[in-house]
Assembly symmetry: C2
Homo-oligomer: 323 residues x 2
């Protein structure tokens, strides 16, 4: 038995070596060493950007080559501030949505009206006060191969039973699946810790004081997901644990309409549910990380232990991917 398929379901992007993917920089006008990579573009997206340019009074994008002669796209030299870039992406996102493009990604109820922060260096030099390179609608990120950020919290008892919610049957994504106690995206302007506090109240009715007292930041998981339609979704999840002490009169309860019910599950029930595909895949992935950190999945009982751990913490070295 191995938990590796749970990881490979989420970390399933294998870069094509045919040069068809283009690198998305903030700008192509800056000197090579200062160019900041923000995403990855499929050929059909690049064509749409060429189209989009043609329909603008002033082109919004520059289509060109990277310093290593790969296809590359940047914002036009005049689109040189976070606000201007955000405006371009807002306008473009709305137009594509209204034109009915990628309706399975950004159409109808899928549009969230939720702004995500885009970082130029996804892993380096972040601080709560550092402004993002720009902001854009959450669901549009997958069209540009932009890293999105989320937060996950596992609530459990000292004898290791887990509070597992079932997602509402009316959720746009993964209705009826099992989930982590608390999970959500990280909206622009909030830190990971602020995001998890907010979600803990909204999704599980957990009082802020209690959460602040008992929550523990325990790391992050990072994996590169490609959707069945080839959209690119590199994801970062900041991970938190919360052990509800014996005697604390705290029980997660649905608050908004996202969760149907919470159930207390043993380690074996959770493992069985994960392997049977009852969990939303990236929630199962976060639970694999939990079970490794707490000694339930070990080098001795998991043949692919190192493969799982390293792929749970993947790097998005686009520059080094030799696309």
């Amino acid at each position: 038995m191995t938990f590796l398929p749970i990881i490979t379901e989420c970390d399933n992007f294998r870069p094509l070596k045919d040069g068809s993917l283009a690198l998305f920089y903030l700008s192509l006008s800056t000197p090579a060493e200062d160019r900041q990579l923000v995403g990855l573009l499929r050929p059909d997206i690049v064509e749409l950007l060429v189209d989009y340019n043609a329909r603008c009074s002033k082109p919004a994008f520059e289509i060109g080559r990277s310093t290593t002669n790969k296809k590359a796209v940047g914002f036009n030299a005049s689109v040189d501030t976070p606000d201007k870039r955000s405006a371009v992406m807002r306008e473009l996102g709305h137009r594509w949505r209204d034109d009915g493009l990628f309706a399975d990604v950004i159409g109808g109820r899928l549009w969230r009206d939720e702004l995500y922060a885009v970082r130029a260096s996804p892993f380096l030099g972040w601080s709560p006060t550092a402004p993002p390179a720009f902001v854009m609608e959450r669901v549009v990120c997958a069209l540009f191969g932009i890293v999105t950020y989320g937060v996950h919290l596992t609530c459990y008892t000292p004898d290791y039973r887990f509070w597992v919610p079932r997602r509402s049957k009316t959720k746009q994504t993964w209705p009826g699946y099992l989930d982590n106690t608390v999970a959500g995206g990280m909206p622009a302007g909030l830190t990971p810790f602020d995001s998890i506090l907010k979600e803990a109240m909204e999704e599980a009715s957990l009082p802020e004081d209690f959460v602040r007292q008992h929550i523990k930041a325990v790391g992050s998981v990072t994996y590169f997901f490609q959707t069945p339609k080839s959209h690119l979704q590199p994801e970062v999840q900041y991970v938190y644990d919360l052990c509800i002490p014996d005697g604390a009169d705290i029980v997660p309860k649905p608050h908004d309409d996202e969760v149907e019910s919470f159930e207390l599950c043993t380690v074996d029930e959770v493992k069985r549910g994960m392997l049977a595909g009852h969990f939303k895949p990236n929630c199962a992935l976060v639970l694999v990380d939990f079970l490794i950190r707490h000694g339930f999945i070990t080098a001795e009982n998991e043949p692919n232990y190192l493969e799982i751990i390293t792929r749970l913490h993947g790097r998005f070295d686009w520059d080094h991917m030799h696309l």
Copy 2:
């Protein structure tokens, strides 16, 4: 303030793109898809293998090309079992040592007489009963870019004070530096858990029953170290935590001659010692992993949080490194 320099000191290998490194396979005669990569060879090592071949009655190695036309080396087709490969590597290691080659790596007191297991797929499909591809002297591994495995245990109190040993002034490596409570290499034939039990007794006089009852496997760290003389040492450390409960009458004590003394240090003392370079570098790296898993280093107080976490769990994708 950032802990990133502690990681970059250990994870400092940046593959050259000039094609000078050769891929070390078990065999070049097997079909492309079944070829199993075990290491990386610098040009001077390849030359020495050519030399070695010329001095053998039957060549031990095949020097050739990978399927992607990179320089490659494999064992000769007749050297086709773990025992035969181990015999070749033993004979070669002894000869180089006795000839005085790489005296700073394998000479004199540096030779350990300690056999390490070499795995063909370092991260996939390991089990305690699976035989290694071959075994070889620990210190010779760095000449062949072979992954070595170790175990690290952090002992701490419920209020987070750490048992920190000072290495003996007569140790071959890093004399007088601070270390993790228990740390050691993983000899061929032992599982990670067996290795840490053995080291816990040998290095810290921790009783086996107590360790078995309280130890927790919590993951692994993996990083690619290149020595100042360009030797290649990709390393895997299996990581364990042990919280010594209040009232337990257990204090780590030196047992063999490897440790001088143990001291109980606060989180702040440990952080200061790490940043001041008082710890053996890869021990500081394991402590960074601990401080992340236990909520002391967070996304809010560490600007390079994601960079650190992903580099603590590097992959050795030689095949994808485009050397």
